[in-house]
Amino acid sequence: MTNEELLAVMEQERQAKGQLKYCVQVCSSTGCASSNSEAVAAALQQQVKEANLQETVQVKLVGCMGLCALGPLVEIERVQIQPGAPPDVLLYQSVTPADAPDIVAGLASGQPVRRLRLEMDDPFFTRQTKVVLAQAGRIDPERIEDYIAEGGYQALFKALAEMTPAEVIEEVSKSGLRGRGGGGYPTGLKWNTVAKVQSDQKYLICNADEGDPGAFMDRSILESDPHLVIEGMIIGAYAVGANKGYVYVRAEYPLAVKRMRQAIRQAERAGFLGQNICGADFSFNVEIRLGAGAFVCGEETALMASIEGRRGAPRPRPPYPAASGLWGKPTLINNVETFANVPGIILNGGDAYARVGTEKSKGTKIFALTGKVNHTGLIEVPMGVTLREVIYEIGGGIPDGRRFKAVQTGGPSGGCIPEQFLDTPVDYESLSALGSIMGSGGMIVIDDSSSMIDVAKYFMEFSKEESCGKCVPCRVGTAQMYDLLCKFSAGEATEFDLRLLEDLCDLVRNTSLCGLGQTAPNPVISTLKYFRDEYLAKIKKPEEVFGVAARANGRAPGQVEQTA
C-alpha cells in the first residue's frame, strides 16, 4: 500500500460513515462477551433491520470500553456532520437482547432509553487519559479499514519515509517510554542496544504472555486494537533492523489470538508486513506463538526457550537477549503495551509524549482495576496520579460500605500498599519504594473483609504452582513458604515459624535465578511490613504449644529441630 492508497481508504471510510446517522457500538471483548454481548449485537441488528434503518444506523462489534463491571456496554454515537466536532455519544450499561427494541426505538425518536443510560460525566470517564486505548471500544478490531480511518499506519509511513532507524530510536528515547511489562527498562535504550549489535539476523518479540492474576491489559489491547500493536512492532523492527517477529501470546486468550491472527493477515495483504514494506528497503514478517499455560514463560529467557521449542525455563543473564536472544541472535523483546505506545510517539513526537507523566515515568499506564472496587474494569491514567484518585474517583470507591484495607499492585511479584500511602503517585520509583512494583498493571483492591495472610498465601500458592522448578530457592523455598503461610492462616504458627518465614523471604529474593523467584516473596514481605499484627495475632502462645510446663523449663516456642 502506498501513502496515497492509505489516504484513499481513509477518505472512503469517512464518506461511508458520513452516510450514517448513528453508529451503535457493542463491546465484544472477553468481559462483555461473557455476559452475552454478541446476542445483544445480533438483537440490535435484527431490530435495525425490522425498523428499516439499515441505511442510517450501523451496528458494529468493537473492543473494550473499560467499564467491564457494567457490561455488556453499548455505545450510541451520533455521527457528526462537521468534521472535528466533539463526539456526541451516549452509553448504555448491562444491556440484554430484550433491550434492543427500546434502544432502536430510541434512535428513531431521538430519545435515549433512561433506564439503561450511564452518565458520561462520571470521573471514571472524565479522569482518564486515553492514549493507547484511544481507539479501543470505537473501532472494529476485525477491520483494518477502521484502524486506518482513525489515522492508523500513518506512523509507519512517517517512520519509513521520513526517518532513519536512528531517528526513530532517538524519538523513542526522547519520549522517555519505559517497559510496560513491569521492569520499566527505558525502551529507547533497549532499542539502541539491539540496533548497535552487528548480526545477519535479528529477531523481535512481542511479549503477550500476560499471566498476573487480575491483569488483563494486554488482552484488552490485543482484542480491541490489534493493528496498533502490529504497527508498533513494525516500527520497532525497522529501528533495530529485525526481519522476523513473534507474538508470544498465551493460549488462554482465544479471542486475542484470533484477532491478532486476522490482523496479521490483513497487514500482510495491505503490504505492511512482508517484503519491501511500503516500497522501502525493509522486510519484516510476524508469526504467532501460543504459550501453553506456564506463567514463567512471561520471563524473557523462558519465553525465548519456549519459542525455540524447548522447555520454558529461564536461563541466567547475561547474556541478555539484546546480545544473544532467540537462537543466539540479537533479539528485541517488549511488552504489548510498550509496542502500542510507539505509533503515537512517532506520529506526535517524543517531546509531546513526554509532556504527560512524572519526571522519571512518562506517558500513561493502563491498569486492570479489580477486587473490591465499584468500577472494575480497564483504565488508562497519566503516570503520577495518586492511588487515591484511581481507587476513589475513577474506581468509584469500595462497595457495600466496607473499608479500604490495601491495594495489591504488580501481581505475584508486587506487594500490598496500605491506606496511609494512598496519596502516593503511581510511578515506577514510588511504588517500589513502598515494597511493591508497578508491574504490568494489575491493581487489586482489598477491603477489610479479607485477611492479609490469606492474600499473601494466595499469591504464594500461585508462585509455587508456577515456579519452573529449575533453581532450588524458588522450587523448594516457595513450597516451604506456602506451607508456613498455611500454618499462619490456620492459627497453628509459632514464633519460630515467623523467623523461618522471614529468613526464607530473604533467601528466595536474593538467590533465585529469575524474576519469578526473586519477586515471589514480595506479597509476604509487604504484608509482614504493613500488617504484621495480623501475623502476630495468629501465633500460638508457648503454653498452647507445649502446655504450661514449657514455660517453666524455659524452652522457646517451636524450637523443635529435626535431625537429618
Binding site: 504452582e465 522448578g469 533453581c471 530457592p473 523455598g477 516451604q480 506451607d483 523461618l500 529441630e561
Partner: protein, 244 residues
Amino acid sequence: MSPVPITTEPVKTFKINGQDVSARETESILQAARAHNIDIPTLCHLEGLSSTGACRLCMVEIKGSNKLFPACVTRVQEGIEVMTHSERLVKYRRMLMELIFSERNHVCAVCVVNGHCELQSTAQKLGMDHVRYPYLNPQLEVDASHERYAVDHNRCILCTRCVRVCDEIETAHTWDVMGRGIGSKVITDFNQPWGESETCTRCGKCVNVCPTGALFEKGKSVAEMAKQRQFLPYLVSRREAMIE
C-alpha cells in the same frame, strides 16, 4: 589440575577473598577459583557439562554490587573483588542445603552412595547438622525396570546432570525434566519406564555423574555405589581435540 594449555586468549586479573588471581577471559569465577584452590561449593555444576546455575550454592558477592552472582555462569572481569564466604553467603548456602534435604526423602543410612555422596559431603562441609524446615515427605517411586540401572526419585535433587550428560556427551537425550515447580521430575523418553526406553544406550554416564544415590547400578547395596567420573574430562578433551 591438568596443565594450562598455551593460549592467546586475553587474561584478566582480579581478586578472590583478597587474594590476587588471574584467569582467561572466557573462564567463569568458579573455574578461576578452583584453579587457585579456592573452594566454592556446587551441586549442579560438573566440569565438562554446560552450566545451568540451578543449585545456587555457588553464589558469590562482587564488591560494589548488592546482587549475588552464581560463580559457575559468571565470567571473570578485570579488577573485580569477589567474596566467596561472607557471613551472608555461608548462611544462604546452609539454608539452600536444608531446603534440598527437606524436599525429598534423603536417608543416608540406607542409601547406596552413603559415604560417596556429593550431597552428603557438601552438607557436611557446610556444617548442616540439622534441617529447620518441615520435611515435605513426597510419595515418589523407584524405577528399576532397566536391566542394569535404577532411578530412585526420592534421592533426586533435580541438578539435571543426567539430562545434560545424556544430551551433550552421549547425545541420546533419553533424560529430560517434566512437570514444574516442586512437582518436577526427571524422566526417560516420554515418561516411560527406563527399561522400555528406545533411546537409552545403556552407557551409564548418567549414573556416574549423578551426585546422589538417585541413579545407581543394580546389585549395589548400602554404601557400595561409588561413582566413576574419569570418563568425562577425557571425553571432553578428546572431543575438543577433534574439533581443533
